[in-house]
Symmetry: C2
Subunit: 330 residues, 2 copies
């Protein structure tokens, strides 16, 4: 038997250790905006192995589908089909849970309205659970991350867009068709920036990396700055630094309005933020917290029971959450 | 044995009918802004009997407490302690579920931070469940009203203020301490009217009867108009009529912004509106629906699975919901 890198040793003797091909594990897949990752995770939340690769998303549906399937197959070959509890796949975009397809996705237009779950399932010959990537990330944080001690939390993912996931009673709140948790589209400025979703002033248009870059252009800071550049700039004691800090204030206030609405609506014990914008926490968080404090009576009345904090699993949250789905849904 | 009005006849013979003092029923109490109502309701949702009276809320804590207790006692005497499943009390204001008291109530300031649940319980010698009145109304609509066919719904009560209740999986979503569902304080206009809760631009400050009256004053329509007057005025083909219709447009748009946020967040199948503002439905609902349609991708994508409609139990919803609590919590 070939010894695979990272794979636990299969016990060939009668020593009482469960043979590796019987170890219970699940496979989680996270189909991000720029890459594809898959991991085998055991029931305690230990990542046994992971596969990560950049998929050329411009190559279309077939390329992405076969990349997903081959990543899962590799892990299944290493750990055996016997112990496989199931497969969870997190995808960016609005999904329809029952049908198992993506209704709208900016990143994966060619997967829209295609029976992606059933197609992966057919190729692998096993059941697959499809989930929105931010919902999966929220579940990951609940399972082994910053939310492990609570049963109810809201996660906002601050990246190219703003995603959201709601965990209620330890489970993903999905709503009627699987579209719950789209807090990136909460209206924070009724006459604000137009959004691809048809709305104006969505949180995502005022608090994502895309929004930050657009504000930098509007403030004539530069046409090709990244969110990271604008974060670095905010550290500078200069006119440009002041402008960059103004941008982070706008981000913080937009997040504060949305969070105040969420605290008033849910009265949950935990609200987490994750994603590529977190490094700028020191610049936007004070404005965010001040806004929540001012705008939410519930927050002020329940301060010792309400935490707004950074998520802890980073990029891995969605991968863990996707892997947890098969166990949770059983 | 005395025959009480409305009370079913107690079977004195061995005819197999359950004696009245053994019929299972619950007592619901709705402590409104201006009056107190109590009802005995059986397990099928049939109201057996009700007591209604105006309480002089200015008389203070003791007067209100003894009115509540005496209303419950009257019903318990009529139907017997044997079949009493429990007592639910709906109160206006933010409540703390575990402690059983009201944290903030504009209508009942003297009950704030007082152990109201335990005091009623002590005087009656039986357990009592305290609930926010809008939560109770949402539960009533779920039980036997407009929401009887769904397990998940949001209710907005449009009255002097705007209350809210969330039913998830057939149960009241309470949050960490019992304050969930305060959708009257969703921010719909970031720099809008100031609210007693500390926020600006709360839904309640743009879509309640109080807001409508304030707008009428601002538009110089009159200083003492009621919401009903402004509704009547909107029917008129005149300059004043046009102004009144503008007010209802503002109400509709504010509700639309809040509902779009709720639809995007929950993806629930049903959103209900109730309260004293409903007679003006024809004037605000078209603007509300247009706003939701425009602002919520989820609404457009799930139209056949998402209904925004009028609640059907009117004033009685909270009474039914309060009575249902003891059965639900068992």
């Amino acid at each position: 038997m070939q010894r695979l890198a990272n794979a636990p040793v299969c016990c060939q003797n009668a020593c009482g250790i469960i043979p590796v091909h019987m170890l219970p594990y699940a496979i989680g897949v996270d189909l991000g905006g720029t890459n594809l990752r898959a991991a085998a995770v055991d029931q305690s939340g230990k990542m046994l192995d992971r596969i990560s690769g950049s998929t050329n998303f411009t190559e279309g549906r077939e390329a992405v589908l076969s990349d997903i399937v081959s990543a899962i197959e590799k892990l299944r070959e290493r750990y055996g089909a016997g112990g496989l509890a199931g497969i969870g796949v997190g995808v960016p975009g609005f999904i329809r849970m029952k049908e198992g397809y993506i209704t709208m996705s900016n990143n994966l237009p060619y997967l829209q309205n295609f029976p992606v779950r059933d197609e992966i399932s057919r190729r692998l010959g096993t059941l697959v659970i499809l989930e929105n990537d931010a919902n999966a990330a929220a579940l990951g944080e609940k399972w082994i991350g910053a939310g492990r001690d609570v049963d109810d939390l809201v996660l906002l993912t601050l990246g190219t867009g703003v995603g959201g996931g709601i965990i209620s009673g330890g489970r993903v709140m999905r709503g009627a068709v699987g579209m719950a948790g789209e807090m990136g589209h909460i209206t924070v400025v009724p006459n604000g920036n137009p959004c691809g979703c048809g709305n104006q002033g969505c949180l995502e248009k005022h608090a994502s990396a895309t929004a930050v870059r657009a504000m930098a252009r509007l403030m004539q800071l530069g046409d090709h700055l990244t969110a990271k550049d604008i974060f670095d700039l905010a550290r500078k004691e200069s006119e440009r630094g002041e402008k960059a800090r103004t941008i982070w204030r706008v981000v913080g206030e937009a997040l504060g309005i949305a969070l105040a609405t969420l605290v008033n609506t849910f009265n949950f014990p935990l609200y987490l933020l994750s994603g590529g914008m977190l490094p700028a926490w020191e610049f936007f968080a004070p404005h965010m917290m001040r806004t929540v404090e001012q705008r939410s009576f519930t927050y002020r009345a329940t301060k010792s029971d309400t935490r707004i904090a950074q998520a802890t699993l980073g990029n891995e949250a969605g991968l863990y959450g996707a892997a947890y789905l098969p166990w949770l849904e059983k």
